[in-house]
Each structure stands twice: as C-alpha cells, then as structure tokens.
C-alpha cells in the first residue's frame, strides 16, 4: 500500500449520552498526502469534525469512545500512542486552526507571547522563538508586525486574528494543518484572503492541509480532493471538480442542488406602487463613530429588499434603528406616511404589529424557558386586540402548520428542535402579529445549506400568500441573488449602491460591489478557478 502522510482507516467513534449512544462517525476511511488539500464537507451533525478531533486527541473519553479504527501518521498509529507522545506531535507536527479565533486566543497575553509559547513549549529557546515569531507575523500579512507583536488579541480584526492563529499553527512547521471551518466567521473578502494565504503557505511548505467545512464554495476554491459526509458516514469521495460535476450519491446531489446562486433572478416589482416604508437620510452615531450615515431606501408592499455588506457596514444598525431598538441620531423612516423615528411610544406600540423581526440565531432569540406555545402566543398576550384568548390555541396550531411544524409539538421547548425548526418557530412568532414587513437579520446564515433553502422557500411562499415585504439583511450574496427583488449594498455605514438584483449582480457600478462579487465563492470549481484568475488580474491591475 502506498504511504500516505496521514491515513484514517475504519474509524468509528461513539458518544454515550443520556439519550443513548450516538454513532458520531462510522467506519470512516480517508487519507491525506503531502502538499495536498483534502476537504471534509458536511452539514452540522454529519460528523465532519469528529475525525479531526480524533487526530488531535480532542475527543473527551467518556462520553466519547473510539470504537475501532486506526489513524496512521508516518506509519505509526496515533490511537495507540501515549498521551505524552501525542502531545509532542500536536502543535509540532500536526497543527490546528479553529473557526472562532477570538475564543482560541487568550485575552490576557500578547499575541507575540502566545505564538512564542507554542515554540518554547516544544523546546525552542526564547530568543529564537521571538525571531521566528516576527518572521511568521510578517509572512501571514499582519501590517506593522514589529509593533503589533506586543498587542493583545482584542486589538486585531477578525481576519487578522485568523492570521494570527495560522501563524501560531505554522510556528513549528507542521506536516499537517487541520483547519476546522477556518473562514466561516469571516466576511467574504477576508475569507478569500485567508484561503489564498492558506494555499500559498501550503505550496511553500508542502504540508498537507485538512480542511473541514460546510461550504461548497470553499471546497471549490482550495480543495484538491473532497470527502462528503452525511450522518457519520462518508457518502462520496473524489476530486473536487469531479464530485461537483458528477455527484453520484443522492445526498451530494441534494447538497449541490441546495446551493443558492443558480436560480432565476426575480424581476423587480413595478415602481409605481406607493412604498410601504420610506427611509430618508437615517443616521446613527455612537459617540463620534457613525454606524449609519445618511441611509435612504424604500420598500414596496410584497417586495424583498436585501441589504448586503460586510460586518461593520451598518446593516444591523439599520435594522435596529428601524425597529427602535436603537434611537436614530437623525433622519426619518416613514411607515405608510408616519415617521417611525419620532413616533411616541403609544403609537409605536400599535405599529409594532406591522413590523416584525426574525433574528440571526434562533437558539438565542427564543426564550429557553418558554414552550413553543408560549413563545408564539406571546404576541396575542401583548396585543390582546388580535385574538380572544379562547382562540389562541387554534391560531398557534394554524401558525405552526403554516411554517411547516407539527402542531402537536407546541408544548415542547425550543431546545428540543433542530436549528432550522427553531427558525421556523421564530417565523411563526413574527407571523402571529400579522405583520406587513418582516426584518430578517441574517435569518438563515446560521443554518445549513439545505435547511437554508427550505427556510427561504418558506419565506417566499409566505410572501406569495400573505403579501409580506421583507427587509432581508445578509452577507451571503448568492442567496440574495435568488431571493431578493432589489439589493442595497452597504459599506462603512453608508449605502454605496442599490438597484434591482440583475443590475447589481451583472453590472455593478461601484468598485466595492465588484470586489464583493469577486470575493464570493461559487460552488463549481471550474467557475471558481475562472473567478480566481479574474480576481488576481484585478489585484495586479490595482
């Protein structure tokens, strides 16, 4: 048998929970060669992270149990080695970077100290460690690295923190870098930069890169080969372009089919209709910082207006100001002719029924101590004029039915539902008040791709039936392309461009919009290769 750098053979891991034994992964085989990038693709709960955790000795036993299998690294079975031996390998020969760099950097030490610690822990003298640390910071592209070496993690942006994590991982020139969703928490443009950096570094050092992701776009961008996982089993494996072009397993087909960005573009609505919402020059300052500057847009009845932008672009501030969760500094937001911003509380209370919100993370937006019935019917309790109490139960039943949940589950608590179901509960809660406009603040970005598609279908369906308008805040461009009528692009608190979907996507006028489009990842490796060439050309030109 050919010698691979790392090989996982017949790995099965169980977790013993109170609800019984969960087979996290079953009989998983894959290998990684030097200088190659292998992506493990799967949705949440597919067990894609488990084999990586097994490699890094991060599985807690109990409740975890490695039932069978071996992990061969350089011909030695990691699972048979002592903890001390594995500690010697971890960090030195096999390094890992995580999704959320902030929670993996210790806030009370300087980043320089933390990078050096990896090296000193494995026996490098401190002065050499310092030199190597500076070299690394320069390599991963931290600006003014010589002075930033003594800064603390909170002084860096999200993308820079991920660069720091990469520097830390590369400190000892590992043979394998395991990257667990390394760019999921980052903006598209930053994501593209980090992926490019990872690829460059891999080519430079010849290490093997194991990338764990849920994003077909990321796979298309960097992976050579891909392993597709579903509920603990490998359903398909092959080269990235092959798997995308000819998926054999139904699950892979479903996954590729669910990826947004290839559907038909929705035609913009007739502009002759009176807008339901008209925002003029809305501004919000936090002290001297302008989170939202002079934003103006309109929403027509039955229209979906998407607000896209990267983090810090002011799109969430726009939503919060509109819903009076924050008070605007200046400007107006006319709701059917009445100004929301200056409205007295009493009038605002009545208007709350018309404008509802669906939040990003349904785990946090649903009170964990209330049953689904309590959550959905709370709107009736707050606005008693909607419905007499005797009909609450029937109405909640209807609403749950409408969003595709079983009405019999109304006495359960939110934690008993999956992420997608929870978001449906949140939508049912919003619908209970019979709103005309629903503000969706990244309402689907915490969900898996296939679930995302279902929720979007639900929203579209509800719009058709109830004539709802949506203000859809998102960072995911392909999703917006399929779903919205019009797009508003924001940057640094300002609206830089707005127009119908076709115009923004096919002929963006502003450079920022073009950058955003170029950085977003397409699931097709062939398309993605094309885009990369275009992006590089753009970089060279500028």
């Amino acid at each position: 048998m050919a010698d691979h750098l790392l090989e996982v053979r017949g790995l099965s891991v169980d977790f013993h929970t109170a609800q019984g034994t969960v087979h996290a992964v079953r009989d998983v085989h894959w290998y990684l060669d030097r200088g190659e990038c292998l992506a493990i693709l799967g949705e949440s709960g597919s067990g894609k992270s488990v084999s990586a955790s097994a490699i890094m000795n991060l599985i807690d036993c109990p409740p975890g149990e490695i039932v069978s299998g071996e992990i061969l690294f350089d011909g030695r079975d990691l699972l048979k080695m002592s903890n001390e031996d594995r500690r010697q390998l971890n960090g030195k020969r096999i390094a890992m970077i995580f999704q959320d760099p902030l929670s993996h950097l210790n806030p009370v030490y300087t980043v320089g100290w933390q990078i050096e610690e990896i090296m000193t822990a494995h026996g490098t003298p401190r002065d050499q460690a310092r030199a190597r640390c500076l070299e690394l910071l320069e390599r991963v592209g931290i600006p003014e690295f010589a002075s930033k070496v003594d800064a603390y993690p909170h002084q860096f942006s999200g993308g820079q923190r991920q660069r720091l994590m990469i520097a830390m991982a590369l400190a000892l020139k590992p043979d394998i870098l395991v990257a667990d969703e390394p760019t999921t928490a980052l903006d598209v443009t930053v994501q593209a930069q980090i992926l490019a950096l990872l690829e460059e570094l891999q080519q430079e050092t010849g290490m093997g890169l194991l990338l764990i992701t849920h994003d077909l776009g990321v796979v298309a961008e960097v992976a050579d080969r891909v392993v597709v996982m579903n509920s603990g089993q490998i359903v398909e494996t092959g080269s990235a372009s092959d798997v995308y072009a000819n998926p054999r397993h139904p699950y892979t087909k479903k996954l590729i089919g669910a990826v947004p960005g290839s559907g038909e573009i929705t035609e913009p609505l007739d502009t002759g209709i009176t807008p339901i919402l008209e925002i003029n020059g809305l501004t919000k300052h936090f002290g001297a910082f302008a989170a939202l500057e002079n934003a103006s847009l309109t929403v027509l009845p039955g229209e979906t207006v998407a607000v896209v932008g990267e983090s810090g672009s002011g799109k969430s501030t726009l939503a919060k100001t509109l819903l009076r969760l924050e008070d605007a500094t200046s400007g107006e937001a006319l709701w059917q002719g009445r100004d929301l911003v200056t409205m007295p509380p009493k009038e605002l209370f009545a208007l709350r029924r018309d404008i509802q919100m669906v939040f990003q993370d349904p785990t946090q937006s649903l009170n964990p101590r209330m049953t689904v019935y309590d959550i959905v019917s709370e709107g009736f309790a707050i606005h008693p004029e909607i419905l007499p109490k005797a009909q609450w139960k029937d109405r909640v039943r209807d609403l749950l039915d409408q969003v595709g949940l079983e009405a019999g589950h109304m006495h359960r608590y939110p934690h008993q539902f999956s992420g997608g179901q929870r978001q449906r509960i949140a939508i049912a809660r919003a619908l209970a008040l019979e709103p005309k406009l629903i503000v969706c603040d990244e309402a689907v970005s915490a969900l898996d791709v296939s679930i995302q598609a279902q929720v979007i279908d639900l929203l579209t369906d509800l719009q058709d039936r109830l004539g709802l308008s949506y203000l859809f805040i998102a960072h995911d461009l392909p999703l917006v392309r399929d779903f919205a009528h019009r797009v508003v692009v924001m940057q640094g608190g300002r609206i830089v461009e707005q127009g119908p979907v076709a115009q923004i996507f096919d002929a963006p006028r502003m450079e920022y919009t073009r950058n955003l489009m170029a950085a977003s990842l397409h699931p097709d490796p062939a398309v993605q290769a094309e885009r990369r060439r275009a992006r590089l050309a753009m970089q060279e030109a500028s």
Binding site: L323, L325, R352, R353, M357, S365, H383, H411, H415, A426
Partner: protein
Amino acid sequence: MTSTDSKTTPDAPPAYISVLRMLWRDKFAFTAAIFLLVVIFGAIFGPMLLEDVATKQNLRGRNAPIFDFSRPWVYWLGADALGRPLLARIIVASQNTIMVAAGAVFCSLTIGTCLGLIAGYTSRLPSQIIMRLADIIMSFPSLLLAVLVLYMLPPSVFNLVIVLAITRLPVYLRTARAEVLEVRERMFVQAAIVMGASGSRIVFRHILPVILPTVLTIATLDFALVVLVESSLSFLGIGIQPPEITWGLMVSQGRPYLTSAWWLSFWPGLAIVLTTLSLNLLSNWMRTALDPVQRWRLEMRRKKNG
C-alpha cells in the same frame, strides 16, 4: 435532537405528580425534602407540645450524657447545663430559628431581587441610587449595624428579621443586577421588545425566570449564614434572649462546656448543618427541575429505572 423520544402526550399526568416523580428520581433531594418537612413540622407543633419539658430545669441531670436510654426519650440526646433535655429544646428552638432565618432570607431575597431588577433594567438614575445604597450597606460592618439597630429597638424575632434582611440585601441585589444586565442584552429580550412587550412583561416573563435559579441558590447558602449571625447576635445579648431559644443560641450556650460536654453544642450545630444541607440539595434539584433544558436529567432516570 430529541425530537422523537420525548413525545409529550396531550393528557400528561397533572403537574404535581410529575414534580413528585422528578423528586423521587433524585434520592438526595427526596431525603432532603423529607427532612425539611420534619423540621417544619417540629417548628410548627414543637413548642406547643414540648414547651414545658424543654424549659423544666433538672439540676440533678446537668450535662446528662447522650444515649442514656434508661431516661425518657427527650433525654436521649443528653441534657444541657441546667438539666433541660436537649432533644426537646432543639425541637422547640426550631420554631424561632426557622422563623428568623426563613423570614430574613425571604425578605432579603424578594426585596433584593426586586431592587436588582429595577437597578438592572431601568435608566441610570434609579439604578445609581439603588447601587450606592447597596454600597453603603456593604461597607458598613453588618454586625455593627445590627448592634446599633438592636440597641435602639427591643430584641424580638421581628426586629431581628429586619436587621438580618437589611444586612444580606446587597448580595441578592448585586447578583440580580449583574444577571439582569447580561440577560437584557439577549436576543429573546430584543425579540420581545420588537413585539411591543411592556417593561414589566419583559422583566417578569423573560428576565426573572432566568435569574431566579441563581438567587435561589444564594438564598439557600445564605440560610446557614443567617442562622449563625443570629446566634452571634444572641450571644452578644442583642438577639433572641433566654428563656427563648434558638439553635444558634444553644450552640453558643454550650461553648463553655465544649471540653466536658461537647454534645451541648454538637446537636444544635448538627441541626443547622443538616437543615442547610437539605436546603442546598433541594435547591440544586429545583434548579434542574425548573430548567427545561436540564429537566431530562431527572426524567431520564425514570426511563432507566422503569
């Protein structure tokens, strides 16, 4: 996750049955609950039945040894320096002790939590006033405060409760406020605001249930502390005065005899410890039982056992 196994049947057993069932799953909590019931029973009916026995002096039986089964049952735990039966005295003393401790803990818990909710949820000014008030109470040695107040007011159960409640107030106030500040930023609170929920609805429906387990846990820990503070006040002569008795007072009365008759302090001390321990176990159970996310831990065992 658990979408298949926990099907709630429409006609589930009434609430009190399922509560009792969950209590039965946790054997420690169950024992604790039984013990506390006994204590409460003793506190209510003890003085009525045993008052005379407990105060009757018997100088021939001074510091009578424990486990002398030839005597009547009230003497089985020994007798104190004046020959009064310890068992009877512990039962009689439980009334005052429980009244003072439970009263003080309850008052400080409710008032402190309410003020904490106000301080955490309202605007700056009321919050500042409440917090500075708490600072003043905290910076004042609690014993000194008690001495001052009780010097002016006659020592009685009621006054003692007030003094103890005031001194323990800041603990609840600060904890509640800190928790409120965190919980009010959570998404579900924002979702309620967007729906137009009023301030009181948000505080009582959304915030209070989340912070309640924390303050209840503090309250059970505080119970023992209050019992001991009460005993030290009584020892100083400004708390409960003999011939009235409390457990704390009994502990301090037994102090001079620790070398010759340790049981004088031991039994009332044990009563304090067991009561507090039971409260702790019960509050621990309650925290799990009240939390829908954790409740399965208590419901699970049912499936395993049955």
